[in-house]
Amino acid sequence: MNQRLNLPDWAGRAVACLFGSVVLAMMVGPQQGSQNDYGVGFRQAVLNPRIFYFLLIGVLVFFAITYQDVVRRYASRPGVRPLVAGLLVLLASYFLMRWYDPLGNNAKFAGLADAVASTSGLAPLAKAFFGWLWWVSLVVLVVGIFVAIARRLRALGWAMAGLAVVVGVVALVAHAAAADAGGGIDHSYGAPTALVGYLVLAGAGVLAARSRSETAATREFVERVMAFRPGLPLVLMGLLLGVLALVSATWFAPQQANATLVDTSSLFSGSDASGLSEAFLGWLGYVLFVVVLLAGAAAVWTRNRVVGYVAAGLAAVTILIVLVTLHDISATATEAGYPGADGPWRDLGTGGWLLSIAVFSIGAGAFVAARRAHRPAGADEARGTVTGRLHQAGASTTVLSLALFGIGLALFYPPTATTFWQQALVTDIGVYVLLAIGLNVVIGWAGLLDLGYIAFYALGSYTTAYLTGSLPVQPPSWLQLSPLWAIPVAIAVCLVAGVLLGAPTLRLRGDYLAIVTLGFGEIIRIVAVNNPGNITNGPRGVESAVPHPVIDLGFLRIQWGGNQLQYWYLLLVLLAILIFFFYRLEGSRLGRAWAAVREDEVAAQATGVNTTRVKLLAFAIGASTSGLAGVFFASDIGYFNPQNFILNNSILIVAYVVFGGMGSLTGAIAGAAVLTWLPNFLRDQVPSEDRVMWIGAVLVIMMIFRPQGLIPAKRREAELTGLAGHDPSVRPAVQAVPASEGV
């Protein structure tokens, strides 16, 4: 009886991984299985080649788990990370990105390679590259660099670095030859991206050749680069993007017209466009860019506070002029009846926005330089000791630079996106980022598992619908409000609802609280479906569309609803306010009290923390954020129904927060952004039935290898890793006591 089957450890794991992937694979394809199916669906699914993707994932996961130690040891060698990054960039370039726009749907690398193969008279180098060189060189490079790293062959490292640069240039040249032969308007970024990938590979080769240490110090390296001249990377990025914008990008593009800045200038010379715009297109644009660039460079190099702020100010003025010009040319073209031009802010190419990003980046670099201007050595440490604030250590130059560049992208990238992506950015990504930072307060900071979070979102949406008269029940006329005025009301309603739900239930611990909140979420949805007293209009959703918000100040009138971009900017404002508020909250006495309650409730009580009140506050703040998102959602989408508030969405938001890194504000944003972006991105890449599978695979792999999430919170990281890196002898003493015992 006691005899156990003595399988080696890895066998069970291998079976589990394969079984898991087979189950995943079974779900591929339409789920038929009706009585008349006789296994047709099953056979189709099994014979489907896609099954092997999933089997492959299972095998890879198995190996990664089994040999995790070995993998980690190799992954920490200098050069491995650039190798992986470069490979990923190249794979993205070859399989995801467009290489030649005129080929339409077939514009990826494979399509261009087919076209090249059937074209005669091309340079042999281009033929060779598109035919076999690209993959042969890729295999040689990856294997070669890996061998160089693993066996410490310096000569091989140098050789591979050289080869990578050569292949990168060949890719660019071959693409140029093919594009020349094909003609037409091409704005694809495949070939330049490939060059970047090859350069990264070259970097990996150089690292393999030069590094003498056993483990890579990526973070230290990055910090050293940033510390050399704070803000310099931002300025360089701005230079690169700015040159692209001024030289090759499209500035005006109705009906696929492909007017670069020079063409646009000649197009608008002598038109009704204002003098400023004409000057900008003609010469002012270049001059301003150079001036901002020089000012930014000076600020970064001299690390002078005044110069830094002046450069940042110049950048702001330049962006303003760019925007004025963009508005002016699109409006002028429309008035003049230019074919294809349909309104202000329409039909602009990427050029103006790219230049804005570039100038913003330079300005941000100057700002960073000003912030880090000649601080006396040791001042940081001294201040840290005295205040000991949570954020003191967090705001490194790297983080600040990345955050600023992200703001630049968020401000000026969306106008260049397609309508589909603008829609996805607002209704999928933006709203869920808003929800995720709210839930992060509840789960990440206070440690309360809330599975009915979407209920407050529903409450916010239905409150808005009621106040704007979109439900069968009309509010009294004095209460009929525009959606913007509904925001405070919805926040108040959700605050009250959060307190009403929380007060009796927050005494419950962990799992029980999760079940109660789950029930609450379902109750709200089912009430909306069941439509008691004809309040909600039942499963059909709201009766009439929730109106779009309007701001009317007499001289200034902003009417939302024209396109998704307007909502995007409204969302950015809301997000900025909330992020600022929550950032302050995290470092405040309440944030510390949340952490205390989460870590050890008994100790927190004994220290005088009113745990019920603190938890209730977290619940209420989370709920009102959800309600705010509900107002935004309702007025953006107009029509909605209870199907928008299913349990699945609650669980997804929890997944976003966990994926991003519990308790980390940036993590919640990143997690929600990545996981809402992924399904939209996969729409074009994989068969639609497989989409959710891929997301599942990403989640599983993430949780195996990086359970702390994308950007873990400092506090949480310490909890999860058991305070690694510190004296290990202390750990048992701290961790031996579960939170609920040992009083």
Binding site: G591, Q605, T607, L723
Partner: protein
């Protein structure tokens, strides 16, 4: 019950001089009686030690005093700070009791390990502050002032317990003795009138014990009464003004350290019920306890295979 009449004697002391007035509390968990009609008075300004063998109910008493447990019978009155009128602890929540001026530490260290040492203390300081979430979000002036004050107070407390240099270390990464002292600093941060220390010397080395004794006396000198549970008799005898001995949930003795050391009841409680039994206990002590394990159904009395003790069950 060598001092059974002491409650009558001490009740003549003015009520305002008592920090704790515990009157006959009984605490049961199901059928187990953890505290049985315990009565004790703690006077303002004293260091009172509670000792007793394991399972005597010392920590249960602490938990009853701080509102974690509610005894089924009896009454606990507390007037922690000078001038407070005595209030009942029973039925009050832990954090309310804390706000009445009763702070405590735990037998198994219960810090917030992922917060820094300074933040741990700040949590305590800030439970006495007023600013709410809105002023924190908006960064209003008084919130900023409170934040600065809390930092200053917490830092001063860390200096007092000798941890200022480690203010920005995560609490969980501190050494054991440092964690003990940090817990005391966190308890002091709430500005208590009485501090309850639950085995503060457990697991610390002799040097740290000496420092701890000095710290306890310093805290007491600054006007905070100290109620101490401790197994280390040297520490107890050196710092305590008065000692109460518990055994099996009952108070069996009370008095000065000298009295307690000489008290036969206490000696018996620590070594066994009588001298003969204590001697027997010592005799059997070197015998491995293996022979009591799993000998049923084994008439030859062979122990578990591979026990490897030559003079085992055969004797």
């Amino acid at each position: 019950m060598s001092t059974a009449t002491s409650s009558a004697a001490t009740s003549s002391v003015g009520a305002e001089d008592l920090i704790f007035d515990v009157r006959g509390i009984t605490l049961r968990f199901g059928g187990v009686t953890s505290l049985d009609d315990v009565t004790l008075q703690m006077r303002r300004g004293e260091i009172l030690a509670i000792i007793g063998p394991n399972g005597a109910g010392k920590t249960s008493l602490f938990n009853s005093l701080t509102g974690v447990y509610t005894p089924q019978e009896g009454e606990i009155l507390v007037s922690a700070r000078p001038g407070d009128s005595p209030q009942s602890v029973l039925g009050k929540k832990t954090h309310v009791v804390n706000h009445m001026g009763v702070a405590r530490t735990f037998q198994n260290i219960r810090l917030f390990p992922a917060l820094t040492a300074l933040e741990n203390v700040k949590v305590g300081v800030e439970t006495r502050q007023k600013s709410g979430p809105v002023s924190a979000m908006l960064g209003l002036p008084w919130q900023r002032r409170e934040e600065r004050e809390s930092t200053r107070t917490a830092y001063a407390l860390l200096e007092r317990v000798g941890l200022a240099a480690r203010a920005n270390e995560l609490a969980g990464s501190l050494a054991y003795g440092e964690q003990r002292r940090l817990e005391i600093a966190r308890a002091l941060a709430t500005g208590p009138g009485v501090i309850l220390l639950d085995e503060p010397a457990a697991g610390t080395n002799p040097v740290e014990k000496r420092e701890l004794a000095a710290l306890i006396e310093q805290i007491n000198a600054e006007g905070v009464s100290v109620l101490l549970i401790e197994h280390d008799m040297k520490l107890v005898m050196s710092v305590a003004h008065r000692i109460v001995v518990l055994n099996f949930g009952r108070r069996i003795a009370e008095g000065s350290p000298e009295q307690i050391q000489r008290d036969p009841v206490v000696v018996a409680a620590y070594l066994g019920t009588s001298e003969e039994e204590a001697e027997q206990e010592l005799e059997t002590h070197d015998q491995p306890e293996l022979h009591t394990i799993d000998t049923s159904g084994d008439p030859l009395g062979h122990g578990p295979a591979g026990s490897g003790t030559p003079e085992g069950p055969r004797s």
